[in-house]
Amino acid sequence: MARTVPTTGQKLNFLLILVISILILYFDLSSNNFQNIKNGFKSFKISSYFVLKEITVEPLKSLQNRYKTKSSLIKENEILREKLKLSDLNNFITSKDNIFSKNEEILEDLDKYNFFYDIAKLRSINPNMFKCCDKHRMQIEVIAKDKTDNIEKFVFNKMGIIGQIIYQNKYSEVLLLTDISHSLPIKSESDNFFCNARGSGREGFIICKYNPLVWSEEIIKNQIFYTSGMGGIYPKDIEVGHVTNIEAVNSNEKSLLIKLNASPLDSNIFGVLKN
């Protein structure tokens, strides 16, 4: 059957809707007004996923486990796995050359010390957006007895720093270091070079642009960079990554490409520093 060609009225409708769409896109790009809707939908999606899993897959799993003689072993295995992940986080806190390990009180009384971070579980990360696009975010669920304000708290995994929390609801949204809107104050080991490294929009890399006339220290490939502690969000002296490429943009600007130590895809357990 032949389709009729759109009438003038229908054409005007399309034009009107197109203009509205362009305006919506412009507003969304230039402001954060739709963020609440998006976060609400994400929370709904994640909750629905877990509720559905809870009422469909989990009963089947538990039924299967009930008939297995090794069910207790499975449970024990799961507990051990969780403990191993937590131990990895503790290792990061104590083994790296950062502010935590410099605090002798922690190291001397390691068993009794109550670590000042909350555990968080990964709830959602869009690997497509993470691998393709400029906007790198993930959703985590902070598991804490008391409900505290976690906004601007920094998030880490067993390999290092991941990002900071920028939005908190049932789930918290983490702005990853590689997001182009993220800025991380870093420094060299000698404390003679400071820079604000921006997210590159590429998986695992941040970019630090600086003026070589101002910062005279010579930066070489594979040089390790640390957090400078400026900005008040990330503690000082935590290893961030190493330089993989140095590009002289012009006589007044150089660009360092820094490969990050940690990737959010490495683990699904994170730590959120309390203070």
Partner: protein, 156 residues
């Protein structure tokens, strides 16, 4: 197909799309499966798709794909308008021409979305490879439809 069914269908296709693109991004390829499915739906529809329906479907797709609101809406409206206007002309075209048209539309979509979502790392390699793969993908779909007309009733 009712509107709710269309939304559900779009959600399922979007899920497949996201699963697939996770793998394909390693090879600098983007196949906008949801967009192509929508194009196909508009193309195959007996009636003209209204501007409001294109707008709502686009907005819903923006929401589920975590992209900026309005991004897919613009493309859905443009495609709906173009296909509505030229629905009868398309019947005169060969499979080859239709496949090339859809493949290039998908490439334009990839280019535009990359400009908005990934401006700092815009890659011509991705655009070029995606164009070729999208055209080939449309050919494959056309071949499947042509060779298995009874089992898969979606002849281009």
């Amino acid at each position: 197909m009712s509107f709710i069914k269309r939304l559900l269908f779009l959600s399922v296709i979007n899920f497949i799309d996201q699963t697939m693109s996770n793998f394909l991004s390693e090879f600098f390829i983007i196949i906008p499966l949801t967009f192509l499915s929508y194009c196909f739906y508009v193309y195959r529809s007996d009636k003209n798709i209204s501007a409001l329906e294109a707008f709502l479907l686009g907005l819903f797709f923006d929401l589920i794909s975590s992209s900026y609101f309005g991004l897919n809406t613009i493309f859905f409206c443009l495609v709906a308008y173009y296909l509505n206007s030229n629905a009868n002309s398309f019947k005169l075209f060969s499979y080859l021409q239709v496949c090339i048209f859809f493949g290039l539309s998908a490439s334009a979509y990839v280019g535009f979305t990359q400009l908005v979502l990934n401006l700092y790392n815009f890659s011509y390699l991705t655009l070029f490879l995606s164009s070729i793969v999208n055209i080939i993908f449309c050919f494959i779909i056309a071949f499947i439809a042509a060779y298995f007309p009874k089992s898969i009733n979606m002849k281009l």
